[in-house]
C-alpha cells in the first residue's frame, strides 16, 4: 500500500519535472518556432489560418488537435514548404528552424532541410509511395539526396531503416513495389523514409487515420519509440485524444484556423480553459464514473467565408458574450499554459457566477 503511494508520487514528480523543463524552454532549446502565421486560399477573403504561433523544443512531442478543417494539416504543410504557391497565399509568418529563419510570405524551407532535418509522415500511406518505383529505391533516393555517399551506403542505410521500423524480411522488401505491401507496411516504409536522415523535427500528420485499428497502436508505438530513441522533436497531428494523452508533452488546440489553447498535456487534460477545449475533453468516452450521454459541441464549424469576426468559436460557445466579437489574445493561465478566451482563467469567473 505504502509502496504504491510512493510510486504514484514519484511518477508525479517526474512528470512535473519534465513539465518544468519544458516551461523553461531555453532559447537554444527551441528547435522550431512558427510566428504569426496567416494564410488564405486564393479567391477567399477570410484566412484559413489566422495568426497561429507554434514552437517545438528538441525532443519535445507537440500534439496539434482540432476538428477536420481547422488548419492542422495546412499548417504542417506550410512548415514543410509543401503548399502549392498557386493556391495558398501566406500573408504573414516567420519560421525559425534549427538556426535558419524563413519569411514564409516570400520563401519556403530550403530543400536541403526538407526531407533532411525536417521530415514528414503523411495521412495516406496507400497513395504516398510512388507506384512505379521499388521501395528500396524510394528510401535510398532520400538518403542520397541528403547524405550523399555511394549507392551501396544508401542501400545499407535503407536496409537498416526497414529493419528498424519492423518490416519483416527487409532484404526482400527492398525490391518490392508499394502495391505488394499492406497499408500498415507502407506507413512503416514512410516512417523509414522520413527518419532515414535523422531529422531533428518529425511532422506526422494523422499517421494512423487511414490504417486498420489493430495496426494504429503499433504504428504510434513505433513513432514514439523512434522519437524517444533519437530525441527527435515531433509534431503529431491527430484528433484522437487518447493518443494525445499517451504521447504528447505539450498540446496545441486549434479551432477554425486559430490557436485556442496550448500548454503541457496534463494541464490541458486536467484544467482546460477554452470552452472549445472543454467541449473536446467532454466528448471523450470514459470507462469510469457514471454512464451518461456523450457530450457534444452544439452546431458545426462554419465554412471559412462564414467565420465570425473575433473569436471564431463564439457562434457555438455557451459562454459567448458581446465582447467575443473582439478577438481574444492568447493569455497565460499558468506559465506555459495559455488560452485565447476573454474569460480566462475560467475558475475566477465561474466562482463569481456561482
Amino acid at each position: 500500500m505504502l509502496s504504491d503511494l510512493t510510486w504514484t508520487n514519484l511518477a508525479l514528480v517526474q512528470v512535473s519535472q519534465k513539465e518544468i523543463a519544458l516551461l523553461h524552454k531555453d532559447a537554444n532549446d527551441v528547435l522550431m518556432a512558427l510566428g504569426d502565421f496567416r494564410l488564405r486560399f486564393r479567391g477567399q477573403d477570410a484566412c484559413v489560418i489566422d495568426g497561429v504561433d507554434l514552437s517545438v523544443a528538441r525532443g519535445e512531442v507537440l500534439c496539434i488537435v482540432g476538428e477536420s478543417g481547422c488548419g492542422k494539416s495546412v499548417t504542417a504543410m506550410a512548415l514543410m514548404g509543401l503548399l502549392p504557391s498557386g493556391s495558398a497565399e501566406i500573408s504573414s509568418g516567420t519560421l525559425r528552424f534549427d538556426g535558419e529563419t524563413v519569411d514564409l510570405t516570400r520563401d519556403r524551407l530550403s530543400s536541403e532541410r526538407r526531407g533532411g532535418a525536417m521530415a514528414m509522415i503523411f495521412q495516406e500511406p496507400m497513395t504516398s509511395l510512388n507506384p512505379a518505383f521499388r521501395i528500396g529505391d524510394q528510401i535510398a533516393e532520400s538518403v542520397l539526396q541528403h547524405r550523399g555517399g555511394s549507392k551501396e551506403q544508401a542501400r545499407d542505410r535503407t536496409l537498416e531503416m526497414l529493419r528498424r521500423v519492423g518490416l519483416p524480411s527487409p532484404e526482400a522488401r527492398l525490391r518490392q513495389f508499394p502495391h505488394q505491401l499492406s497499408g500498415g507496411q507502407r506507413q512503416r516504409v514512410m516512417i523509414a523514409m522520413a527518419l532515414a536522415n535523422d531529422p531533428k523535427l518529425l511532422i506526422a500528420d494523422e499517421p494512423t487515420t487511414a490504417l486498420d485499428v489493430t495496426i494504429q497502436a503499433q504504428i504510434l508505438e513505433l513513432i514514439r519509440d523512434l522519437q524517444r530513441e533519437r530525441g527527435t522533436g515531433t509534431i503529431l497531428i491527430t484528433h484522437d485524444l487518447g493518443v494525445v494523452a499517451e504521447i504528447a508533452d505539450t498540446v496545441a488546440v486549434m479551432y477554425g484556423g486559430q490557436m485556442v489553447e496550448r500548454g503541457p498535456v496534463a494541464q490541458i487534460f486536467d484544467d482546460p480553459q477554452h470552452p472549445y477545449t472543454i467541449g473536446l475533453m467532454e466528448s471523450v468516452p470514459r470507462l469510469s464514473g457514471e454512464r451518461a450521454r456523450l457530450t457534444t459541441i452544439e452546431g458545426s464549424v462554419p465554412s471559412i467565408d462564414k467565420m465570425p469576426e473575433g473569436c471564431r468559436f463564439r457562434t457555438r460557445c455557451a459562454f459567448a458574450v458581446a465582447a467575443c466579437a473582439e478577438r481574444p489574445a492568447l493569455r497565460d493561465v499558468t506559465p506555459g499554459h495559455a488560452a485565447a478566451c476573454h474569460f480566462v482563467p475560467l475558475e475566477q469567473h465561474l466562482r463569481v457566477a456561482v
Binding site: S111, T127, A132
Partner: protein, 314 residues
C-alpha cells in the same frame, strides 16, 4: 507476364483472320468487275471465261478465300492488274518510304508534344499553358494540305531552303533524304504533336497533384526530379500507349501528305490503286495496314504492362 503476352498474341490471330475475311469480302461487294479492267476493251465471252478460269473466279467463294488467304500467308498477295508486278514487291518498295516519313513525324511529334505537354501541365493556368494550348489547337485545326502548300511556298519557293517534293532513299544520301523529308514530316506530325501534347498535359495534370508527388517534394528533391522522374514516370503509360496507336494512324494518314509532296510512298500507292481499280493491290494494302494496326496495338498493350509494375509482377 509472359502468359499475358502469349494470350495477347493468341487473341491477335482470330482478329487477323476476321480482318482478312472482311478485306476479301469487301472486294466482292465493290462495284465493278476486275475482269473488265483486266480485259480492257476486249468483251469477247471466250476471253472473259479464260481469264475467269485463270484467276479461279469460278471457284466457290470460300474456296477462293482459302486460296487467297493461303497465298497471303506465304507472302504472295497476287499480282497488280496494272503493272503485273507482285503486290508484295510493290508494298515492300513503298512501305519503307512511308515508314521513314511516319518515323520522322513521330520523332517530331514526341520531341515537341511531350515536353510542351509537361510544361503546360506544370504551369497550368499561366501564359505558357495558354500559348501551348492555342498552338496545339491550331495544330489540330490547320488542314494538312494547306500547311503543306504554304510551307512549300515559303520554305522552298521563296527562301529556297528545302526541296519542295520528291524522295531520296536514306541509303543514297542520308542528309539529303532527311532534308527532303523534313517538311512532309512536319506537316504530318503537327496534328500528332498537338494530340500528344494534349494527352501528356492531361496525364501530367492527373499525376502532379498525387500524394506520391508530394512525398517526392517532401524528400527535398529538386523540382526537376519531382516532375520529370516521379510524376512523368507515372504519366508515361498513357502517353506511350497513345503514341503506339497514333503511329498506325500516321502510316494510314500519310496519303494526303504524300500527295502534296509527291512522295512515292504507301499512300500514293493506295490512291493510285483505288483510282485504277487495281483490286489486288488495294486488297494487299488494306490487309497490310490492318495487320500493322494490330501489331501497334499489341505493342501498346505490351508497353502498358511493362511500364506498370502492378501488372508486370502479376
Amino acid at each position: 507476364m509472359l502468359s499475358f503476352f502469349l494470350r495477347r498474341l493468341l487473341i491477335a490471330i482470330p482478329t487477323i483472320f476476321l480482318i482478312s475475311i472482311f478485306v476479301f469480302g469487301l472486294q466482292k461487294l465493290l462495284p465493278g468487275d476486275p475482269l473488265l479492267v483486266l480485259a480492257g476493251e476486249e468483251r469477247d465471252p471466250a476471253v472473259l471465261e479464260f481469264l475467269r478460269e485463270k484467276y479461279r473466279l469460278n471457284d466457290p467463294i470460300p474456296v477462293q478465300y482459302m486460296t487467297w488467304a493461303g497465298n497471303a500467308l506465304r507472302g504472295d498477295l497476287g499480282i497488280s492488274l496494272r503493272t503485273n508486278q507482285p503486290v508484295t514487291e510493290l508494298i515492300a518498295q513503298k512501305l519503307p518510304v512511308t515508314l521513314q516519313l511516319a518515323m520522322m513525324s513521330l520523332i517530331f511529334a514526341v520531341v515537341i508534344g511531350v515536353p510542351a505537354g509537361i510544361l503546360s501541365a506544370y504551369r497550368k493556368g499561366t501564359m505558357v499553358d495558354w500559348v501551348a494550348n492555342v498552338v496545339a489547337l491550331s495544330g489540330l485545326s490547320i488542314p494538312n494540305f494547306w500547311l503543306g502548300i504554304m510551307l512549300i511556298l515559303l520554305v522552298s519557293v521563296k527562301w529556297q531552303l528545302l526541296p519542295a517534293s520528291g524522295y531520296v532513299p536514306p541509303g543514297e544520301d542520308l542528309w539529303l533524304s532527311i532534308k527532303t523529308m523534313l517538311m512532309p514530316a512536319f506537316v504530318l506530325g503537327t496534328a500528332l504533336a498537338a494530340t500528344l501534347m494534349r494527352h501528356t498535359r492531361s496525364a501530367m495534370l492527373g499525376v502532379l497533384t498525387s500524394d506520391y508527388v508530394r512525398t517526392a517534394r517532401a524528400k527535398g528533391l529538386s523540382e526537376r526530379k519531382v516532375v520529370l522522374k516521379h510524376a512523368f514516370r507515372n504519366a508515361l503509360t498513357p502517353i506511350v500507349t497513345m503514341t503506339a496507336l497514333l503511329f498506325g494512324e500516321l502510316v494510314a494518314g500519310a496519303v494526303l501528305t504524300e500527295q502534296i509532296f509527291t512522295i512515292p510512298g504507301f499512300g500514293k500507292l493506295v490512291v493510285d490503286a483505288v483510282f485504277n481499280r487495281d483490286y489486288a493491290v488495294v486488297q494487299g494494302i488494306v490487309l497490310v495496314t490492318a495487320v500493322g494496326f494490330i501489331v501497334m496495338n499489341l505493342l501498346a498493350d505490351m508497353a502498358y504492362v511493362l511500364l506498370n509494375p502492378r501488372l508486370r509482377e502479376a
